[in-house]
Amino acid sequence: MTNVIERLGAWAVTRVGEMGRMLLFLLSAFAWLARPPLRFHQIMKQIHFIGYRSTFVVVLTAGFTGMVLALQGYYSLRKFGSEGLLGSAVALSMIRELGPVLAALMVTARAGSAMTAEIGIMRITEQIDALDTMAINPMQYLIAPKLVAALIGVPLLVAIFDVVGIYGGSLVGVDLLGVSEGAYWNSVQSAVEWKDVYGGILKSVSFGLIISWVCCYKGFYTRQSAEGLGSATTEAVVLSSVLILVGDYILTSLLL
């Protein structure tokens, strides 16, 4: 009996310790960001990797999400004879929920895992220690540019996702199912308010922070083995996805 309680306590202490380490990791990354020199070229490279190279997969996901939403929405709305509301159904679910969440999940899968693997390999092959000996702070050189790039790149990807999704919805709704074009775009315009767009932007910024934070942390503290690298990558993807979904619920309930 005491054994069980002891193990529970040990588990809780480890978890809380890990949370504290994660927070300190983030704070030190931001502190190093404020200190010159600003690694401008590194930030560019990371925006290229996290943002630009994710564009294709984000556009693909967005197009099909918008199309399937229009298809599903049309069959539900037709029962009430209000197909004219299709535009607002697609636009609101895109901007408020699906855009930020799906784009963030795609970025986690594509760029987040690669981030963890890259930093993890550098840790295992002692390149991070080498940076330290060359008096280049790894926080400033490796981690901070990735944080900045995700904070800039993810909201832009989400904006592209929203626009492509709404156009995808109009492709199916207007051209395939025969909702009138004017009704579709008018209901998009009248339903969406600044509050919705603002909420979406806020969500996408938070998700960008979550992705880069979790993935960099997991890579930075990889255990010294091939297995350690594998499990670090898995943990990074699982933890950021879970945090994105839970964070989405919390943010939605706070914003409503």
């Binding site: 636009a91 800039i152 832009l156 904006a159 592209i160 315009q189 767009v197």
Partner: protein, 147 residues
């Protein structure tokens, strides 16, 4: 990759993203960044039920502005109207709250009048009519107040 080419690609990506963001905020979100193309007048209603900031203002079915804010003055609703500069309103303008279709959203219909002086920014429209309350009409009928 060359440094300039990398920066070029990133620049294009950021540009496209910003265009999408601006489209969402200004076209769909109706964020007003450039003021000055509109002027504000006020109107008081017995009830502004269903009217929201951002609701359309129409003259003869053509959109000429948007509702900017609704506040309570004593027991009446004071509605702030942002009307395009190109539209002239006169002191005998008539404002009424209308519904699009049976269950559609509410909007503000103006008939600009023709007599009197032009309305200046900050002036108040005097002739107003609140929206039709379907429930009240039904209850009047049910409780036999209609003769």
């Amino acid at each position: 990759m060359e440094k300039t080419k990398l920066e070029m690609v990133v620049g294009v990506f950021v540009l496209i993203g910003m265009v999408c963001l601006v489209y969402l905020s200004i076209k769909l979100g109706k964020l007003e960044i450039i003021g000055g193309a509109v002027y504000e007048v006020e109107a008081q209603f017995n009830s502004a039920s269903g009217l929201k900031p951002g609701s359309a203002i129409e003259i003869a079915g053509v959109e000429v502005g948007r509702v900017r804010g609704i506040t309570l003055i004593e027991d009446r609703a004071k509605v702030k109207l942002a009307v395009n500069n190109t539209v002239k309103l006169y002191t005998d303008t008539f404002a009424s709250i209308k519904t699009r279709g049976i269950i559609g959203e509410k909007f503000l219909a103006l008939s600009p009048g023709g007599g009197g002086d032009p309305l200046k920014p900050g002036d108040t429209i005097r002739d107003t009519e609140s929206g039709l309350d379907l429930e009240e009409l039904v209850s009047q009928y049910v409780h036999g107040k209609v003769k």
